[in-house]
Amino acid sequence: MSLHEPLLSIEALHVHIRTAAGIVQPVRGIDLQLEAGETLAIVGESGCGKSMTALAVMGLLPVGGSVAAGAVRLSGYRLDNLTESGWREVRGRRIGMVFQNPMSAFNPTMRIGEQIAESLVHHRHLDWDHAHRRAVALLDRMRIPDAATRAQQYPFQFSGGMLQRAMIAMALACGPELLIADEPTTALDVSVQVGLLELLRELQTETGLAILLITHDLAIVAEIAQRVAVMYAGQIVEQAPVDALFAQPAHPYTAGLLQSLPERHEGAGPLSAIAGTPPDLLQPPAGCAFYDRCPAALRLCATAAVPRVEISATQRALCWLRHPAVVGSGAVPPLAEQQGSES
């Protein structure tokens, strides 16, 4: 073991889900490291495997799902082969999770306060009275007005934005080192989104919390994350610090995502979402998964397993275009020129 262990380390992770139609592969060989106090964003369009990655880290894959290969470590300790009782020590206590849909993620027949307090009773062995007071304090910290009354209410009496904040309170109740937030701002209006992100940033400076933020919104990434991993069809196609990624995207898919951002959009035409659909994860292609939609595709991309290329010490991409053999041969023009010539 090396001297320094990252807080979270995902190594060559493969997730399989057994279904009637066959084995779905929502995660196909992911490598990710997250340091304490850091915020890493995972972005990518719907269905690319973001949630499955998070659920694999929590050991909460759906029925039929399993970690087929690879490892997940927390401060060096293997998580993916834990027993149920081992998981109970990790979930809620060392990793808190905020789920994608706050409306359905709360138990409809239990008071919000109790849903927060029960973690404290279980992990911190507080008595219920004490735990309830802590729950109210947590809600208050999340800027939920009149927290004491709110704690006595049920999920259906909360608005979406308030539920989202209550869920963060719930996830942070036992002071975890890592927060996994799956699309914490979808379905919220912009002003609420901004408030929530500010709150997360505040909490982070206060407690040294690490955040794994899952989103499909690059604007949010720019707002809060230090590093970004771009996911496509179960793989991380590019990983870089936020600035580098926005300034010099190395992967055509990242470039396409950036182009579809409203503020980068030039001219009067409609926003250019990337045309086409991702491949079937039941039978992932042998070559590049982005081949069908890639404006810069080479012939070898269709069949040859794509290499991972180190662009710099902190940036890497999964693309043939950046491979030294291709770049050195002069067979292809640089990315920008090629895209320009097409329009």
Partner: protein, 311 residues
């Protein structure tokens, strides 16, 4: 909540009035009248009797008298049992039916929760398959066949044991009660078991159950407060129909097991065209069921905060 209760009470009263009215006019529509059963009644006596029971009055006047009597809780005097007031018949025999029904319902509910949860937990494995097969059997076999089977079973048991382990029929102790109660509750238990199973399976897929696991809670707490509690809601909604099923099922079971409950008297009254008893017990049963359904609604409100707090 108070408004909800008042509205519920009002609609219950209207329903009871409707049941009473329907009973009255249906009884008037059946051919013959209460006295035509007696052979060759002397016309004078007949007139006398008609006057006594108000049968010489116009229908609407009779209806008015009937409603007034019902409202004051006076169900009249039996035609076939000398000098017995219908109120007394109800007072004497309803507790027997109620005891049988309550025990049947408790057995049915507890059994359904247990078997439903078990079969969901062991989905598609042998406990599930065994339970679901029994459920189909219990739902499809009518209760009088079940009752006959049970009596045959008791007889064989007693013969094998050489003494009376359980009485075949009659009333008086818990040993008389237990088999009829199981027979009476079995269909309801089967129906509720199936509901409980699908409800447990549905909640097992719910996002909030995953949230509970993501908090690292103990499995008992997750099972009781997150899984069971929510899975119970649909089961509580069928308690009303379940009470109705057990009440009406009691008619047959009381008859077969010779249990002196109100159900047996009701069936007898129908056979003998005992008008006052039929009308009195029908209205009584109707009111009882309406009241029970109302109580179930209130119970549901207590369990589901979306109804309790929302209203």
């Amino acid at each position: 909540m108070t408004g909800f209760l008042l509205r519920r009470l009002l609609s219950s009263l209207i329903t009871i009035w409707f049941i009473a009215t329907a009973t009255f006019f249906v009884m008037h529509a059946v051919p013959g009248d209460p006295l035509s059963n007696e052979k060759a009644v002397n016309p004078e006596i007949r007139r006398h009797l008609e006057a006594r029971y108000g049968l010489d009055q116009p229908v609407l006047t009779q209806y008015g008298i009937f409603l007034r009597n019902m409202a004051t809780g006076d169900f009249g005097i039996s035609f076939t049992q000398q000098n017995r007031r219908v109120n007394d018949i109800i007072r004497e025999h309803f507790p027997v039916s109620a005891l049988l029904g309550v025990v049947a319902l408790v057995i049915a509910t507890l059994g359904a929760l247990l078997f439903g949860a078990l079969s969901a937990q062991f989905r598609d494995r042998w406990p599930d398959r065994t339970i679901m097969l029994s459920v189909i059997f219990a739902i499809s076999v009518p209760s009088f066949v079940l009752a006959a089977l049970a009596q045959w079973g008791i007889l064989s048991l007693n013969k094998a044991a050489g003494f009376t382990v359980l009485p075949v029929a009659g009333w008086g102790s818990w040993r008389h009660l237990i088999v009829p109660a199981v027979v009476l509750g079995l269909g309801t238990m089967a129906y509720m078991t199936r509901l409980m199973r699908s409800s447990m399976l549905e909640v097992a897929q719910a996002d909030y159950l995953r949230t509970a696991r993501a908090k690292g809670l103990g499995s008992l707490r997750i099972f009781v407060f997150h899984h069971m509690r929510n899975a119970l809601l649909p089961v509580v909604t069928v308690l009303g129909p379940a009470i109705a099923a057990v009440t009406t099922g009691g008619f047959v079971v009381e008859l077969i097991f010779s249990i002196p409950g109100l159900g047996r008297y009701f069936v007898q009254a129908v056979q003998q065209l005992d008008y006052t008893v039929i009308m009195g017990t029908t209205v009584f049963y109707g009111a009882f069921l309406v009241l029970m359904v109302m109580l179930v609604d209130i119970l549901y409100g207590l369990i589901d905060p979306r109804i309790r707090v929302g209203k």
